[in-house]
């Protein structure tokens, strides 16, 4: 059961239809299915339902009902944002619409949500990994672990500047500050945001959003895309869109070539780092997509070996 709100105004206020008792999810449907591939809309949309903020400054990823070239399969579930709230002729407020080339589709039900239902929509928001460390806890755990690593080294052994805790690899970087070497450590958190799923397929065209909740907030980020078999990825002409919601910072413009930020045998890891000068806000999203013109090469992608990482370095503020 769906109802659709066309995007036609910068601000829109409407009510849920009579008889609709719950909203389960929402997604954005492109009005123009003649466009092939992922069309990124720069709108940052905020939606409030019945006084509850469902999303804020969300960068939308329109879902297309048809795929003219037929070599990709989309399901609306792949791009839906889970809502799961009961409504009853509730007010829906939508703001931030700049373009009118999509509809906002609400997935709803004539029944209220029963906790036992176990609805399971695919979320666009990246779930926190189990055991992931944040804030002070992360710094303490990392400091302790690196100290232990240093202490464990016997003569002839050198501590590596990386270690892995609960599946996440952290790096430390020694650097010189004001001409003096300092023991301050920068930690780099490598997260594997896009990888082979259980079906052996990469998740393209799916926008990931997550909250970077390390403290303090003053930090810099160095996103990097790295992958096995990177040459094939470049041939496949993949693009990345990477933005920080809630700010005016477009880290990478739309359709930026992934190869610019990809380390491989020819481009060393450090040189592939892309520094952006603006401190990060908390809401971050990114999406990897194939070029919407290169259908032939896109078909040739063998995705079984690729992992794509995004890497952040955040600076401890003393």
């Amino acid at each position: 059961m769906f109802f659709t709100v066309p995007s036609e105004a910068n601000y829109l206020s409407t009510n849920t239809p009579f008889g609709v008792k719950s909203i389960r999810a929402l997604f954005f449907e492109s009005k123009n299915d003649s466009l092939f591939g992922y069309k990124r809309n720069l709108d940052r949309i905020s939606i409030i339902i019945d006084g509850k903020q469902i999303c804020r400054d969300l960068i939308i990823l329109p879902f297309m009902t048809t795929q003219p070239y037929g070599n990709r399969k989309h399901r609306w579930e792949d791009v839906a944002l889970k809502v799961n709230m009961n409504v009853d002729i509730s007010e829906i407020q939508i703001s931030g619409i700049q373009n009118n080339d999509f509809n906002i589709v609400f997935v709803c039900s004539d029944k209220e949500i029963d906790e036992s239902e176990g609805f399971d929509f695919v979320e666009t928001k990246l779930l926190r990994l189990k055991g992931q460390l944040t804030g002070e806890e992360a710094r303490k755990a990392l400091n302790d672990a690196f100290k232990m690593l240093d202490a464990s080294c016997a003569e002839g052994e050198t501590p590596a500047d990386e270690l892995t805790i609960n599946g996440i690899t952290y790096y430390r970087k020694r650097y010189t500050f004001n001409g003096q070497e300092t023991t301050t450590i920068e930690y780099t958190e490598v997260k594997k945001y896009i990888s082979n799923n259980s079906n052996g397929e990469l998740t393209f065209d799916k926008e990931f959003q997550f909250i970077f909740d390390h403290e303090p907030i003053e930090m810099f980020a160095y996103p990097i895309m790295t992958a096995n078999g990177i040459d094939r990825i470049i041939n496949a002409d993949m693009r990345v869109a990477f933005t920080i919601s809630g700010s005016d910072n477009e880290v990478f413009p739309p359709y930026t070539d992934l190869s610019l930020f990809s380390a491989n045998e020819k481009i060393p890891f450090r040189k592939a780092l892309h520094k952006f000068e603006t401190p990060l806000r908390r809401n971050i999203s990114f999406c990897v997509t194939r070029n919407d013109q290169e259908t032939t090469t896109a078909k040739e992608i063998e995705v079984s070996n690729y992992d794509i990482y995004v890497l952040f370095i955040y600076k401890k503020v003393s």
Binding site: G131, L133, A141, A145, M148, L149, A151, S152, C153, A154, G156, E157, T158, P159, A160, E162, L163, T164, I165, N166, G167, T169
Partner: protein, 120 residues
């Protein structure tokens, strides 16, 4: 020789129960040369805890091994406390690590498990 750790933090083992961990080791280190446990807190009692550790099909610690053998509690230097199997030539590089922790005690325990990785 570069050395690093792969760490599993806050492994919980219920009283009278078992916790099983099965994961791959990091691919950019060639050898796995040691392992140790750190109790999660000073009050964690590991006297009734036993282990089974297998890496790349090599049985490092047989079933029922006393956890105290590889527990680092700060009483000795860490490099002396690490359970050393460097002579066994255990490969890291995406090798599968299987760890079973059994708690025969009457209270839940929580611990951090470390493996030592090395690269030439």
């Amino acid at each position: 020789m570069k050395k690093s750790f792969q760490i599993w933090r806050e492994i919980e083992v219920p009283a009278g129960g078992q916790t099983v961990l099965s994961e791959l080791l990091k691919e950019n280190f060639s050898k796995c040369t040691g392992a140790f446990i750190v109790p999660f807190s000073a009050t964690t009692n590991l006297s009734q805890v036993s282990l089974f550790l297998k890496i790349a099909q090599n049985e490092i610690l047989p079933n029922g091994t006393d956890a105290s053998i590889i527990t680092f509690d700060g009483s000795v230097a860490l490099k002396d406390a690490i359970y050393d199997f460097s002579k066994d030539n255990i490969p890291a590089r995406s090798s599968e690590l299987d760890l079973t922790i059994t708690n025969n005690g009457t209270s839940d325990v929580k611990l951090n498990f470390y493996v030592v990785l090395e690269n030439e």
